[in-house]
């Protein structure tokens, strides 16, 4: 990750003196997921270098699906009672970070940039005790009990692949609203509560891409409309 960021800084610094053939891009959004048999939501982000007249973006990106802001709970029936209860409600959280590659094309007279963002990284999702159940009966940490109740597999981690199609609408030269439809999966995910954490998502967001200063450039909505 450090190498990618260093490259972005160097490329962007160089670009300032060379008619901005490389510029940074920054994206942020909020996603709704239909993963693991329930609906959830969470933030998403991206940052990197835009090259080839904004036809290609390379950087880092990520997503998260925080537990506390998602109401979905997951009932777990217990073989042995926990604090006198035969079942507990769990929540889920997780996320991913990795390399972001985004190939894009301008359409509709540069008013829309259609692209195919792909995130290849590492991440995972897990299930955890909530509220009063986090106060364990023997003073051990909640994660110890989660391991015990879920047979040592309260979470799963692996290579994350996240890809789809995105449209960025050039209502402004710099800031553009985006909407995308994607599919998100953790390869090899295997937690005792679920053997799959994958599904479609929809993201609404904003992206910031500096206008290019080179008037001879041809391409994306980043081109200044003099």
């Amino acid at each position: 990750m450090l190498h990618v960021l260093t490259t972005i800084v160097l490329l962007s610094t160089t670009a300032r003196a060379e008619s901005r053939s490389v510029t940074p891009f920054l994206s942020m959004g909020w996603r709704g997921y239909a993963m693991a048999g329930h609906l959830s939501h969470g933030p998403a982000f991206g940052f990197g270098a835009s090259i080839l007249d904004d036809h290609l973006r390379i950087g880092i990106g990520g997503t998260s699906r925080p537990g506390p802001i998602n109401p979905a709970t997951f009932p777990l029936k217990l073989e042995q009672p926990y604090k006198g209860k035969k079942s507990v409600q769990l929540r889920s959280d997780g996320g991913a970070t990795g390399l972001l590659v985004d190939l894009g094309l301008p359409i509709a007279q540069d008013r829309v940039r259609v692209s195919t963002p792909i995130l290849l990284g590492y991440g995972g999702y897990g299930f955890y005790l909530v509220d009063e159940d986090r106060k364990t009966p023997d003073g051990r940490k909640p994660s110890d009990w989660e391991d015990k109740l879920l047979s040592g597999a309260d979470s799963g981690f692996g290579v994350v692949v996240d890809g789809g199609i995105q449209a960025a609408i050039a209502v402004d030269r710099v800031v553009r609203p985006t909407v995308s439809a994607r599919f998100h999966t953790v390869l090899g995910y295997d937690a005792s509560f679920s053997d799959r954490y994958a599904g479609p998502s929809v993201e609404f967001g904003l992206e910031v891409v500096p206008p290019r200063k080179n008037p001879t450039s041809t391409g994306g909505p980043g081109k200044p409309k003099e």
């Binding site: 960021l5 972005i8 800084v9 962007s12 610094t13 300032r16 510029t23 940074p24 920054l26 942020m28 909020w30 969470g42 933030p43 982000f45 940052f47 990520g62 998260s64 699906r65 925080p66 537990g67 506390p68 802001i69 959280d93 996320g95 970070t97 897990g126 955890y128 940490k141 909640p142 994660s143 989660e146 309260d154 979470s155 710099v174 800031v175 904003l206 910031v208 500096p210 206008p211």
Partner: protein
């Protein structure tokens, strides 16, 4: 005392270095805190600075155990690297890192009542200069806070989306409102899971127009 000392340093400095002193109140359920910051900006818009933060531990974690009452003290070095500087847009990559001391009012385990962490944040930040009166900020912060003592463990790792506005009150005074929100992970799942923080700040630019600064 720190603020006074820093302000004297800032006042003593002349162009081409622009100086800024900032006081921010950051409200968060887990750790409301006051932040004091001094930055100097070179003509190439590279910035260096120092910050000190004093906070209340109301929902932090020490070695994975919750701390509901205590104090925090954080000192960080700041760096801001300019990536884009245009008439209406500035993009910077900011890095901040330094020690955070956490003292718990009640020992959590084995008599442990304190911890030392290295708090690091990396933030791509876009500043949109909407008018002479105010700016809009968009970005996100990648947080990597590592507990070093009493033992080594990831304290808080995650990304916070950031949105903010800067109001230019006078040529030498700005105020800002910043909201950050996002998921966190630490201590093998026993740490913080989510953070929303609202910051209200005042920044003073001794002897220099506020808009000379690349970002807030």
């Amino acid at each position: 005392m720190l603020l006074f000392s820093l302000s004297r340093v800032a006042l003593a400095a002349d162009d081409p270095n622009a100086n800024a002193l900032t006081t921010t109140i950051e409200l968060a359920k887990a750790e409301p805190r006051a932040r004091f910051e001094w930055r100097v900006q070179r003509p190439n818009r590279f910035q260096l600075g120092l910050s000190g933060q004093v906070g209340l531990a109301q929902g932090l974690y020490l070695n994975g155990w919750p701390v509901d009452a205590g104090r925090t003290f954080t000192g960080q070095l700041l760096g801001s690297f300019p990536l884009v500087h245009q008439q209406a847009l500035r993009v910077d990559l900011q890095l901040e890192s330094g020690p955070r001391f956490l003292w718990a009012a009640e020992p959590v385990e084995n008599g442990q009542d304190g911890s030392l962490s290295l708090a690091t944040g990396l933030r791509p930040l876009a500043t949109l200069l909407l008018s002479n009166v105010w700016d809009l900020q968009l970005g996100w912060t990648a947080r990597f806070d590592m507990q070093i003592r009493p033992n080594v463990s990831a304290d808080a790792i995650g990304q916070l989306l950031l949105g903010g506005a800067v109001l230019h009150l006078s040529p030498n005074l700005d105020c800002s409102l910043r909201v950050e929100t996002g998921g966190l992970y630490g201590y093998n799942g026993d740490g913080a899971k989510y953070l929303t923080r609202v910051g209200l700040g005042l920044r003073w630019f001794p002897g220099r127009n506020a808009q000379a600064f690349s970002n807030f």
